[in-house]
Symmetry: D2
Subunit: 332 residues, 4 copies
């Protein structure tokens, strides 16, 4: 971290600042220019509050050279993290295919879909039980009952299950869930993140609707700071002014995150566009960009799905997508 001191600041004030910084376990190297004094902060600067520093009247500007995240940082952990989801590996060359309906609706539905996507190569089964909806009047999911049905599908097919948590108080219900998803709207629900840091289960952390990659990694850092380092990041589109697509899938996040962090990076092409026929090309593009896996909505009756039907694939369409993605992965 480099802090440039304003011109004309008295020596004693700079000394005070240096002393204060050194109490925070960094050492400070001072270099005097003709116009400005520049302080170089050396050591573990993740604990230095950059906003606070910038706010000081005597400071002109502060530049972070190292990233504010540490546990998630590839610089300190060069080797790819491989997350183990009840036997299914994700990351470090292991490609995961999560598939299933937006919402769990019935026993028949979830088991039928589970069987079909498994046959097409899906390795993990998704299904929403607790659904975050913008309107309090929209369908909110089957809740605990939905979780039960998911577990039945798991028993029936042997596929590990993935589902979203919205409230840390629900954690006891998630005992048999293999991969716990944090949705976009909860990416900065820091209280939830802290609780998930205390458990020892893999977390699928979706990117917030309007969050930067740095904020996303800081949210991963919240979980990791608690000791839970089994995190998979999942890009699902960000908000822009474009209206033809629901969100703008940011595939450049895949190579950029692979540079910044050792955590696996998946892509959800279904939610990003919100459009059925865009899932295939975007799934292929995600694979080509180097994603460690895909999360795709599949429904056996998309026209009557209780939510997000328009973006769901039929099992036949999913089968085609899975094949194409395989070809792409062989080509790269």
């Amino acid at each position: 971290m480099i802090a440039v001191i304003k011109q004309g600041v008295p020596e004693t004030q700079i000394d005070n600042l240096v002393n204060w910084l050194e109490t925070q376990s960094v050492s400070v190297h001072r270099s005097q220019g003709v116009y400005n004094t520049v302080l170089g902060l050396v050591g573990d600067t993740t604990h230095v509050d950059i906003e606070l520093l910038q706010n000081l009247e005597i400071v002109e500007t502060v530049t972070r050279i190292s990233e504010p995240f540490k546990s998630a940082n590839r610089k300190f952990h060069p080797k790819d993290t491989v997350v183990d989801v009840s036997g299914v590996k994700v990351g470090g060359g292991h490609f995961a295919m999560i598939a299933g309906p937006c919402s769990v609706e019935s026993r028949e539905q979830i088991i039928e879909i589970a069987k079909q996507v498994k046959q097409s190569g899906a390795t993990l089964l998704r299904g929403g039980a607790f659904k975050p909806r913008t309107s309090p009047y929209d369908f909110q999911g089957l809740a605990a009952d939905g979780l039960e049905l998911l577990k039945e599908a798991k028993k029936e097919t042997g596929m590990p299950i993935v589902t979203e948590i919205m409230n840390a108080n629900h954690l006891p219900l998630f005992e048999d869930v293999d991969l716990i998803q944090v949705g976009a709207r909860n990416m900065q629900n820091f209280e939830l993140l802290k609780e998930l840091g205390r458990i020892r289960k893999p977390i699928l952390l979706k990117r917030g609707l309007a969050n930067t990659m740095k904020e996303w990694l800081m949210s991963a850092e919240y979980i990791m700071a608690g000791g839970n380092e089994q995190i998979i990041l999942c890009e699902r589109g960000i908000r822009t002014y474009e209206t033809y697509t629901r969100n703008t899938l940011d595939l450049s996040a895949v190579p950029m995150l692979h540079e910044l962090t050792h955590l696996p990076v998946m892509v959800d092409p279904s939610h990003a566009s919100g459009i059925n026929w865009m899932v295939k090309p975007m799934a292929m593009a995600a694979a080509a960009a180097g994603a460690d896996g895909l999360m795709i909505e599949v429904h056996n009756d998309p026209k009557h799905a209780l939510c997000d039907g328009a973006q769901s694939l039929t099992p036949e369409q999913f089968d085609d997508v899975a094949k194409r993605v395989k070809h792409i992965r062989e080509a790269i």
Copy 2:
């Protein structure tokens, strides 16, 4: 709600759709054009899931004519809601001035600031005890201890207190808090909103960093759906690509929300820009735009504040801002 059916859809499919819609307590008026069939949905359409409808294969487009929010909608409640915060009225012509430090730091600090801002005309005292921070390594507030100090300042000065909640499990600690704040990052923490709908205390609901006014009102609707109708909305700046200011204060939200809803609308000019000297002009502009109140950060020692010091005013600066705002309010 107007739904346009695609060309060439067989009558029986349209009949099925109409029947299904009529089970949802709306009546459907059907009009046959040369090219398209248009369905007009009449009645309470807040419970019709517009995404679901749009997703149906036979539907070309759906246009909501009435808003998806109902309890918060001015059309159904033309009279301004006046929120009563332990005797301090907000809305319907009653202007509130919330002031205080970003974080509660010590007994002396909070009581000293409380006395000073009260003298300058502040009607409510703010102070953060639980602080949402992007980094797990940054100062997270004094938590329960901070709440205790706030309550002491309330006892000492008689000012009702405002502070942020981040976790519904903390509600018992908020017994003596007069106005509970939901921060930007929790605006779509639906589980928290539902819990706040069950209590009978006024809520200050801040706008999310990248949320539309419709989503904001839907979040208010979540609280109101639970029976708690004492809500104050607070604009605090949205995320844009501008970098000179931290966020872009959207003052057009003030007149627009006054049109859409009967709830009071306040403005926080401190967080929006993140810059001390911008608070005054933006506070004046907010008052001129018709805001029902302001929320301003004041610190007796901004240079050493533990967070957000650069945007805090000194008590003297706050006194000046309060006077200017008063002049503006007299002029409108």
Copy 3:
């Protein structure tokens, strides 16, 4: 186009509106609901000014069902347009690879790079002569001299050339340019677009920094309205709040535009991220998404390039990217 009339509007006013609309070569089908009157506009509605219509006091809402673009619309021209750039076909299955330096710097530089990229499979040579720069003090390109050097490289290698125009008055200088590029900042320079509609040379139209696909297609429509239908669209990243990448490459634009328009869609992965090592994965992802071509910056000495060096590839890196893209294209 569907226009919903407000409740309680007198018949005569609706009659007036219908008459006025019918003077604009659309026929109007009127259907009377219990609450609202709905007007269905049938025929060529591209000439109906939707903003004007929405502004009328008696109109509740207007929904466009057909797109406002016509010449660019796939509905009216289902077959892919194949643009012929002096013998190099683009679109309809023909994949174009444009490569070359950001700026033409010298005779040696441009000829050397041209030879190298040709060997690696590039089909068109790019090189900036007129450079749009945010600052008036930055290098603005070699102008007419740069164009001359480009032409020499064309003579030497036989590759058709692509370069950006910033001023319609420069058109005489572009006589020997094979594909004229309109940069992001001029996407809505309507006066320039009109002039380009009058010539008969292929145009490479880049997406504006913060423009929607609809606006982009309307800009293509400006050129096509003048009679020039040889247009290639080029996605180059849009502005978001993300800061790790310079812009956010919107690859979902590729399949979406293929649905909306018959024009070829290329992708520029160099400008989008601004980072050398992101070009390869994003080029592969663009190919997987179905792009009709790529535009890639190559420099034989990226470290000393006069502009945008950090995003340029070396000829060796370009050779690798070209090979990978070929593999991806074979896989899809």
Copy 4:
């Protein structure tokens, strides 16, 4: 400007960089830290291409301490610029009120409106003759005929006139125009800006739809670099994801620009929201924020205006707004 060199870079490479920088009329102060070498660039750094510098392989990061704009920079010209528009002063305490129709439609229309707005206190008359429209099929203005009608209204009322230019080739037609407007979509039409730098007429430079204040000031700098320093900036709303308002008026730009530049800053509340009844509160807010003037659309028959009718005020409404703004200005 502070450039931090990467760790482990050999001395000779740093020497080369220092030598190269010193050829660009800056002096370089070098300070050696434990980990990094920091170069402080002193002198006029506006000509240093920061992108180029950042792109060098040996450079870790570059931070601009001084702004990249110079002529527009308040640091070098602390006194407010007062622009003289044919006798009407703008800036430095002089408040301008520009009013008139979106488009000039007829002799009667423009003269009638001119008389009415003059009576209400407008000091400058606006009216569009060349209209930038997203669609080539929408009304594009009366062009040269519109300019003639504007001039007649000027003769009749004595009010200086303001109108938009879209093409530098039209400049001869603008001989009698008193203030030439550059619209949002041409803010980065650098060729047009350069031409406007060569004339000696005041320019009203609107902010681009998605441009930062820094880019906006760099565009002013383009004009000033040519020797034309009579520039008025005009905020007109930026693009966000909000949909209730057409654009988001960024009033924080007013105090921020007053800090950054000596140029006057006006606000256009009509285009920002696109809604008639929002003009009044936003005009008042702009005045309270310290704007140097307002630009307001007025039409004597808004319902039949050829463009943007919904955002125009009637002359009576304008009279009311002008009075309110006067009260606000007296209060601040």
